[in-house]
Symmetry: D2
Amino acid sequence: MRTLCVGRLALAVWFVALNAAAQPQPQPRARDLGVPFDGIPGPLNAITDVRGVEVGHSTIISGEGRLEVGVGPVRTGVTAVLPRGRQSIDPVFAGWFSLNGNGEMTGTTWVEESGFLDGPVMITNTHSVGVVRDAVIKWRIQQGPPDASGYWWSLPVVAETWDGYLNDTNGFHVKEQHVFEALSSARSGPVAEGSVGGGTGMVCHGFKGGIGTASRALGEKPGAYTVGVLVQANHGLQSQLRVAGVPVGTELIAANPSHRDTGSIIIIVATDAPLLPHQLKRLARRASLGLARNGATSGNTSGDIFIAFSTANPGVFGASRNVALTMTPNDRMNPLFDATVQAAEEAIINALVAGRTMTGVDNHTVIGLPHDKLREILKKYNRLVGR
Amino acid sequence: MRTLCVGRLALAVWFVALNAAAQPQPQPRARDLGVPFDGIPGPLNAITDVRGVEVGHSTIISGEGRLEVGVGPVRTGVTAVLPRGRQSIDPVFAGWFSLNGNGEMTGTTWVEESGFLDGPVMITNTHSVGVVRDAVIKWRIQQGPPDASGYWWSLPVVAETWDGYLNDTNGFHVKEQHVFEALSSARSGPVAEGSVGGGTGMVCHGFKGGIGTASRALGEKPGAYTVGVLVQANHGLQSQLRVAGVPVGTELIAANPSHRDTGSIIIIVATDAPLLPHQLKRLARRASLGLARNGATSGNTSGDIFIAFSTANPGVFGASRNVALTMTPNDRMNPLFDATVQAAEEAIINALVAGRTMTGVDNHTVIGLPHDKLREILKKYNRLVGR
Amino acid sequence: MRTLCVGRLALAVWFVALNAAAQPQPQPRARDLGVPFDGIPGPLNAITDVRGVEVGHSTIISGEGRLEVGVGPVRTGVTAVLPRGRQSIDPVFAGWFSLNGNGEMTGTTWVEESGFLDGPVMITNTHSVGVVRDAVIKWRIQQGPPDASGYWWSLPVVAETWDGYLNDTNGFHVKEQHVFEALSSARSGPVAEGSVGGGTGMVCHGFKGGIGTASRALGEKPGAYTVGVLVQANHGLQSQLRVAGVPVGTELIAANPSHRDTGSIIIIVATDAPLLPHQLKRLARRASLGLARNGATSGNTSGDIFIAFSTANPGVFGASRNVALTMTPNDRMNPLFDATVQAAEEAIINALVAGRTMTGVDNHTVIGLPHDKLREILKKYNRLVGR
Amino acid sequence: MRTLCVGRLALAVWFVALNAAAQPQPQPRARDLGVPFDGIPGPLNAITDVRGVEVGHSTIISGEGRLEVGVGPVRTGVTAVLPRGRQSIDPVFAGWFSLNGNGEMTGTTWVEESGFLDGPVMITNTHSVGVVRDAVIKWRIQQGPPDASGYWWSLPVVAETWDGYLNDTNGFHVKEQHVFEALSSARSGPVAEGSVGGGTGMVCHGFKGGIGTASRALGEKPGAYTVGVLVQANHGLQSQLRVAGVPVGTELIAANPSHRDTGSIIIIVATDAPLLPHQLKRLARRASLGLARNGATSGNTSGDIFIAFSTANPGVFGASRNVALTMTPNDRMNPLFDATVQAAEEAIINALVAGRTMTGVDNHTVIGLPHDKLREILKKYNRLVGR
């Protein structure tokens, strides 16, 4: 019990809140390093390019050295993605897909049944899904009485990847207040990447992973829509890593000892294209293909779970009468499929490029993907863009 | 080869075409016998109460006595359900569900992916699904050039149940012309039930089964919609049969030796309520509950496959731009769920009540559910309505 | 904040722990009242007839009168079903099904992917799923170090139904200790039914619902297996209620004002028959048919989610090499299907029969199904067994 | 009618039967050209490296010039994959997955339900699925009486891709005898690739596609298992094509006008590893990742449907009692996942490399992927292996 109190004290001291808006991004992203990608990104190359979407992080970092369960070291957090921002509780059409279900995304049974995502998508570590879930309900209640009839309940969507290599994950360091903070700090604008929020303690293809994002802006012909992707990347073996088709993982073997593939990836796909729930499932499934372009094979221990939502068609959920909708014909979805694959591919590489070397429990150290070496290797394979 | 020719000759002689419109229905239906059901049926108490829906049957009956494969006896056929009738090739939103998948319904992968049913739903015997499928494509081509670009293909929906107890099912007696006939004879209006079309050789709960139909008309408050159901009933043990909750099967054991549960049931649910594809899956799933009310437990050898479609929202499939839709809110679906369960329950009993004793291959005889005894039993359990 | 402290004090005073073994069952069950059911139950007519299965409840009841969120009245709890009992952490093969997914069952993505249920199945109220989930992980950690490698995580299965009509459900009264208690108190033997554990505040078909259980013992020919079912019943309209096929709900309309169908049902199916994961999905799906026999149509607001597991084939999950299994052929599953349908049907009626009138928040009162009237109605329809 | 007769005559003259064993393979495959792939192939680098698997093709080529429906030109056929060869009708465990379901694979509802694939997997053109399906039943009947009880039916697995750009696909040129031929000619040993069997008229990433195959041989540690893949590749835009991560499609734009993505791909995964049905679904899903490595994004008009089966655990299906099985633990599946991804990636490139320029209906011409240019491009990106 004492150690828990010390743990809390440490938290109070070390607590770091990185919300999206407050965080400048001087760090280079994958494109800045000359990695080639297909398609044209939106202005921020982030999920927040989809109008209305807001992202917030609560990052919890404290302690060093040997693991003492309940004390630390702590390298974890919570990320919140709000489809219509903090000002709206209007649900969005959604669909989901599990490429390899060694993971959790609560709330999906109702997403599947209703076709709606009602509330934010939260991402945290595996053993904190519960506290985050119930806290989302509490937060919602605090926003005001849910509905006049009193007949109200909530089935929040909370996903996770496992950070136990760097974080005292069995110490349950994510608390209600971190959830509230991630939600309250949610903003449009640039999104902090790398070791922030739920991504804090994550490892991807053997290097430091975490949060990554990217977007694609479609031209006028397919409807001037935007597709945005946010990933919490904690998956993949180093040996599998391909960047822009180049076998970067094997080229870097000397630089980094390989890890087991014990990780997972959560991918959130947002769009303003008016898609119905069954069409959003199609988008969610396409996230797999972006993942695959980077070489992953979705190992047994990977929780590779994807959700896609559309911010179009507001005001549909609570209607008391028939409602009018707009729908993109199936025949016009290909540009959206391409955009999803491309943005998922880039978001993962962005998560890697944003990763900085981190030391966590028992002095486990995970190095950030070395930018210079990445550029060298791309050059070797004639794939470096610019300079 | 000779026997096949004789077979064809026999077919030509015996060939019986029973289309929906031409068929008078002097026979009593379940309600006429005093079976109580929940809910209010439409004017015809048939799937054709859903405006636009047309049904056609091609019934093939020939020969008697010992089975000679390729010759007969033949007790089979084809039933066609056209969501918008013969005059329209405009696809409808649809969803499907397999309660127990020991059966075939082709085309469902595209229904699931696209959310559309493009073309009719056909029902025949298990070993004739292929010929019916390709013939639907040929029929569609014969209606006119499919599309100007030449890039066109079709993935017809064809379902089946097994009629080998009464029919020379390995003689492949269903031919292209029967498919054309079922399609061409499709009509609105009353629907022939019992041993017609695809239902010709079917057995249900140990008695003669086949085609059955029913509908529910919703009141103004839930939107004045109609739900119609058509079944090809070939499932269930006699001992399980409940009618209006009454254990009719066990009461009739003395009257009829029990059969193995080797059958299946196809259930088609039609509605004019504007439902999206994922909502139609919900409707399809409800068909299970109607089945269950009659006592079935969906045995291992049963192909219990259901499809639901909505005739609302015409002109959506082929749109070259975003299209406007109408959607029933999830919160207003309960009356549609109730209607589906009730109509499925009644359609199955209607199939049984329409069944007349039939003798088929090797003189196998299946008796029709005895109407008098059914009334007696209902009376014994205080469930007989009227008289 | 003060009210929360008072709330805790109240909890400490009022806290009632009803575990399975300690609870005598003088109350009649459905069979005792003369309700007829198909099939032969096991010795306890409970899920614990499946050897190894243990059930524990933690029941939380405190306060009366007007709702003060965070204070009470409290009418809730937690139920734990441990497939191999407290002494074993060996996972079991499992499969799940959602008839209507307006509910939560965490962990199902991994059940679907892996084919295993690893840990207990927990049931609680909708807004306490999170705390129960994380507490299951903590409890597991407390049992001993998870695995030598340190690479370990857990994806607990926690389901829920909504008790806000009787319970201060937004007061979050379920705490870690209740989860530990439900788990620690789990026993084989008779299972307490009605307003206990997760079922404390539940309403079913307009009457007091909650936990119910039943079982079926198969004869020697199908393999002498047992199927056990436990439900947390909170679903259904009164007007729909059928008992043994008799329209009890409509007959009782005068006695009880009808409620909206805002509820849900969780059904757990256990068996010792050696079934593979895909076969257990078939069993889970059959629970729908038991539900339907009692008249439910699975309304839009219902979270009707079912899970089935097999206690056969121990030691399979953690194997480091290929493992030997036993499998029941599909052709021999029909008796298991029948047993599942029958036991689910009976378990729901048992939950109703065990329900006693309860008053909760804002003096909402839900009456228990009146036993005498039930018998009268069964008699009226010639369905009363015995006396 | 006359044209049909002429069509048949033409068929008789032009008819070309290419069975797997008879076909020498002097043509280079992808590896022969220096394309780098991960993993170690089996001796034949073909699906037939999985012991027992046999492959047969029936190739139908006739006519030239303008399309006359029913006459030609004809560029189509049928491919048969027999999991245990022609000598065994013993079903295999199987699972399937639809990445984008604009296509047909009959029989999957029963595969999903039962966990078994009973019979061969057939592949043909879209509009010939029906004739192939029923012919498989007839072929099976001709092998001998199905079962003594007479209670027998079959639900064949038949898949397709669309060949209407080169083939008179609405002429229905696939006949029963082609099905019998594909089945009868099935052999172990090398597998003919490119424009053979069902793959005859196919187009892939803008070049001539068709049948391709590859395999991976796992080392002793993961169990010395083999994974074999066979594809009928008719999918993808040219601009998307990546070979070994190199943007070959865009590099070749000058050499070839791009086609619309109107195609599809069927992928069959075979293994001798003892996997249960739910594990085979995991394998089937991995085929998506191989597809993605080559750049495809699975367009709306693509029928990307995959099936995986295991030849282990013979004699399970028809058992009358409980049967003993072997199962690979989930924790040991990663090498099988890798192998599936790698073999699918290579099989597609093999289909492209085997493609030879073909002219079909209306003198549509599709060029074969130019081998020299492919090598040049690989060299430009430092990815050419050898020489």
